[in-house]
């Protein structure tokens, strides 16, 4: 569905089918209802075929039998109507804008921002379509890319072809919020390194790591946006470039990795589109803190409970993660990726990364 018009028609059709179900229910004297998978970590399962984590069989049914859930369905009806209009007029909007537009929807008005977010996710699940198809634009841009890859972006101002090393400034190419408009043209890359912090992104750039190893550097800017994850997935799938994730050594960073590699719980319904199962973790490991004697901070209470939660998270149910997480709880320490600086500014590019990348088989020099 690369043709936008075709895509819009299909989306509209799907939404109207959904509304028709309710229509028929009501005409039969039934209370309208919808069925949704339960959205908790206890209901995500590994899908062997696609190699990603998706929602499992647990489902919950919502019907309009109470004022609260009836109002919820009313809001969903309004949202479907709004999207249908948007598709017809070829407009787009952000979730926040839709939230404000709902001001005029009387009883269907959203009480809070996250209500509209949640509703759009529900719609994605029910229709098995991305929000981008609804012309719903995310607030945040994607990450920056710097490295030997050429893309073509279909912008409102025409087609732009950009090489992400030659045609951009030091801050790199900014992934737009709708990656479906980007075409991957060609590349000369050995791998994509997705990096948690800007400091480390600049360090690798300054030390010429992209040139020396033909690496595409990608600055994740914290928890990666959908556009970023989709871009990583596409570079991996369409171009066959291996993806590695280089983060700090704390529970929040492991979650960043997990959302790149396995998909997030919040968007488990999009895992096939967003997750890159072959992505490998080369961030700071608890065992690295010991091995390299890195400066470290004590874990906070939040850290400890996040680690504990990860131990019960199916996405971390491997020997590797169990061992590392338990080790971390035992040491009660965490380190940042920039902590490698304590061993000199070149240590990370001269020693750590080459040895890690060779170890996992991404570099063969």
């Amino acid at each position: 569905m690369s043709d936008p018009t075709e895509r819009d028609t299909a989306t509209k059709k799907r939404l109207m089918e959904m509304a028709k179900v309710w229509y028929d229910q009501m005409n039969n004297g039934e209370i309208p209802s919808i069925t949704l998978p339960t959205r908790t970590k206890y209901n995500i399962e590994y899908d062997d075929e696609s190699e990603v984590w998706k929602y499992g069989d647990k489902e919950s049914v919502r019907n309009a039998g109470t004022a609260k859930s009836a109002t919820h369905m009313l809001k969903m009806a309004y949202v479907i109507w709004f999207i249908k209009t948007q598709l017809q007029e070829n407009r787009s909007s952000t979730l926040r804008e839709m939230y404000y537009i709902s001001e005029g929807w009387k009883q269907a008005k959203f009480g809070a921002q996250n209500e509209s977010n949640y509703l759009i996710e529900d719609l994605e699940i029910i229709t098995a379509m991305q929000r981008e198809f609804f012309h719903m634009r995310p607030e945040e841009d994607g990450a920056s890319i710097f490295g030997p890859i050429r893309i073509r972006e279909n912008t409102r101002r025409g087609m732009k072809e950009i090489h992400c090393q030659d045609d951009v400034g030091e801050a790199g190419y900014n992934i737009p919020n709708n990656v479906e408009n980007v075409e991957l043209v060609d590349h000369d890359a050995s791998c994509v390194i997705a990096i948690e912090t800007g400091g480390m992104f600049s360090r690798l750039q300054e030390n010429g790591f992209d040139e020396d190893y033909n690496a595409v550097l990608l600055h994740l800017k914290g928890q990666p946006a959908r556009a970023t994850r989709r871009m990583l997935k596409r570079m991996n799938e369409e171009l066959g470039i291996p993806v590695v994730v280089f983060t700090d050594g704390d529970p929040w960073s492991y979650r960043i990795y997990a959302s790149v590699a396995y998909g997030s719980i919040k968007s488990a319904h999009m895992s096939e589109l967003l997750a890159t199962p072959s992505a490998q973790f080369i961030g700071v490991k608890p065992s690295d803190i010991q091995r390299y004697n890195l400066p470290a901070d004590k874990l906070t209470e939040q850290d400890v409970s996040a680690l504990r939660a990860e131990l019960t998270d199916p996405r971390f149910a491997t020997d590797f993660w169990r061992k590392e997480i338990n080790l971390q709880l035992e040491m009660n320490l965490k380190s940042e990726q920039q902590a490698f600086a304590s061993r000199g500014l070149d240590f990370v590019t001269k020693e750590y990364l080459p040895s890690m990348l060779s170890e996992i088989g991404v570099l063969k020099r």
Binding site: M16, A19, M26, A64, T66, Y78
Partner: protein, 600 residues
């Protein structure tokens, strides 16, 4: 002469009046403010006790009047049986003198200290004697005496005594003067309000300076006067048993039957055999070596609890509820009277009540009203076993939040009626921590807690049903409209849903394009007679069904339609107008009624 001889000369007896004169704080006279409350409380206790004994409906006058800067004159007058002239001096002017101390039954006053302590306090602060007037029947004249206490000896002194005419056929009036201040006013009214709750048969007329008001009685039955009973074997202490046996000339079995309540021949023999004592032995001959096993046997043998019904006078559930309703507005109110129980040989009964909602403050700690033998306890809440027991109940399990005391719009009343209330001090402010009493309070509150929980969950369930009805009748039509728009088809009819799901009477009003439409569906299984009220600026002159009644006031028209709808039937009316205003229907049970104003 050795030092001990010298010291011996200084040793002498102390009169109990001297003792309490010096330690007046122990009797509740620690401040001038409190003194006035304590005095009135003691006088009213005596009046109520006396009226109960005489089986008279109490009609009590309380008057407080400031007669100089810091001197107040207090008068308490009752219509009780009166006091014979010979006893008047001792009753009012001798500490530790009274009729109720040695009796095993529930009375308000017990110690024989209260009113005499007030007399002592009055003469100490103003030097003025107390003036007592009493008349015992219509045939005799009233006697008026002016009394003081001789502190050194704790004996009464009569300064004057005369016979006088009095309007009341019988009754007692006591007048005291002492130093105080007006800060006591609020506490005094609180005391009277609470007293009136637990004495619903009493009427109080109150005069404070130039203001006067009345607490009316809500019951015209005099509670039965508790009858004195014999002590119960459980909890009798060795020293008391020793004294009783020493003073008796009976054989053991007869002694047990005669001296204790609930001990019949069979029980007496059981005690004797358990103690390995001859049932015919003269008890006066028993030494400690026999009394110890006897006491053990008395306390381990199974003996029924004393029949509380005789010696105690609980208020009863019904009258507590009446009393509370009189003084508070509440959504829920329930009272329990526990069966009689025993501690240390003393009978007692716990009564409790819980009130919820209404005009009670919605937040903060519960209001706790403590009573002992029908007397409100106003001070030292923190030190009282009642408070402790209330705090130890797990209120959360009854759906009530708690922080020490339960919190929210809750009123808790606890009344401990006992033949001997274990107060923590002579000022009778707080009940001492007796496990048996605390346990009974807990049980009473737990029973009430379950009732409260039922009330609260029923209230929640009603809310839920209402909510469901509202969803179906007001939101689903909106969904239908929007879904119709999306699929580009006519709006589906949702009345089928309404009818199937609910068995109610649904009233809908909507207005559009200058027309107002009112529609009623009777989805119930019965016929309904409905009065439809529609109040708005429209006169409904062209109503498709003309109203049964129309009136106008300030441009607002009240339209009433009388409609009878059998099961499944519907009614509809439309008229020209702009809508708004309010709509309501009468004649349908609250829980079967759904009113949906689609314009709001």
């Amino acid at each position: 002469m050795v030092l001990a001889d010298e010291l011996a000369k200084k040793q002498r007896s102390i009169s109990v009046a001297e003792f309490f004169e010096k330690n007046k704080q122990m009797l509740g006279f620690d401040s001038p403010t409190r003194g006035i409350i304590t005095t009135i409380k003691e006088a009213i206790d005596n009046s109520l006790d006396a009226c109960e004994e005489a089986q008279v409906l109490p009609d009590i006058l309380v008057s407080v009047r400031r007669i100089s800067n810091d001197v107040f004159r207090v008068v308490v007058e009752d219509n009780g049986p009166g006091i014979v002239p010979e006893k008047m001096p001792s009753v009012f002017a001798k500490l530790l003198y009274g009729s109720r101390f040695h009796q095993v039954r529930q009375t308000r006053g017990q110690q024989g200290i209260g009113i005499s302590a007030a007399v002592l306090y009055a003469q100490l602060t103003t030097g003025k004697p107390t003036i007592v007037t009493s008349r015992t029947d219509a045939k005799n004249k009233a006697h008026t005496m002016s009394l003081v206490i001789k502190t050194e000896t704790n004996e009464p002194e009569v300064l004057s005594h005369e016979e006088v005419d009095w309007i009341l056929p019988h009754g007692t009036r006591v007048q005291l003067e002492f130093k105080s201040n007006i800060a006591a006013r609020k506490k005094l009214i609180e005391y009277l309000k609470y007293t009136s709750i637990v004495n619903p048969h009493a009427k109080f007329r109150v005069e404070i300076d130039d203001e006067s008001f009345t607490f009316e009685r809500v019951s015209s039955e005099v509670p039965p006067c508790p009858v004195a009973i014999k002590p119960h074997p459980y909890g009798i202490e060795l020293g008391v048993l020793k004294r009783m046996t020493a003073a008796s000339d009976l054989p053991l079995k007869e002694f047990l039957v005669e001296s204790f309540s609930k001990v019949g021949e069979k029980t007496a023999l059981e005690i004797c055999s358990s103690a390995r004592l001859d049932s015919a032995v003269k008890v006066s001959s028993l030494g400690l070596e026999s009394l110890n096993p006897l006491l053990d046997a008395m306390q381990t043998t199974k003996i029924p609890a004393p029949s509380a019904s005789q010696c105690l006078s609980p208020i009863t559930d019904e009258l507590i509820v009446k009393g509370m309703e009189k003084e508070f507005e509440l959504d829920f109110i329930k009272a329990r009277t526990r069966p009689g129980s025993v501690y240390g040989g003393h009978s007692f009964i716990v009564e409790a009540a819980i009130g919820y909602g209404g005009k009670l403050p919605p937040e903060g700690s519960a209001i706790l009203l403590r009573f002992a033998n029908r007397v409100p306890l106003l001070y030292q809440q923190g030190a009282c076993a009642i408070t402790n027991a209330v705090q130890n109940v797990n209120w959360k399990s009854y759906g009530v939040s708690q922080s020490g005391l339960p919190t929210g719009p809750i009123l808790i009343l606890v009344h401990v009626a006992a033949t001997n209330v274990p107060f923590t001090s002579e000022s009778k402010d707080a009940v001492a921590a007796v496990p048996e009493i605390e346990r009974e309070i807990t049980l009473a509150l737990q029973e009430l807690g379950r009732d409260l929980k039922m009330f609260l969950s029923r209230r929640d369930r009603n809310k839920l049903q209402d909510d469901r009805a509202r969803a179906i009748c007001s939101v689903i039509p909106l969904i239908a409209a929007k879904v119709g728009e999306i699929v580009e088809l006519p709006v589906p009819d949702t009345s089928l849903i309404e009818g199937r799901i609910m068995r109610r009477v649904v009233l809908k009003k909507s207005s559009a394009g200058g027309k107002v439409m009112i529609h009623i569906d009777n989805y119930t299984t019965k016929s309904q007679e409905i009065s439809l009220y529609d109040i708005s600026g429209d006169n409904a002159g062209d109503a498709t069904v003309p109203p049964s009644f129309v009136s106008e006031m300030d441009g607002e028209y009240t339209k009433i339609w009388k409609v009878t709808l059998s099961a499944g039937e519907a009614f509809e009316v439309t008229y020209t107008g702009s809508g708004g205003g309010m709509i309501e229907m009468q004649g349908v049970a609250e829980n079967l009624k759904v009113v949906v104003d689609l314009d709001v």
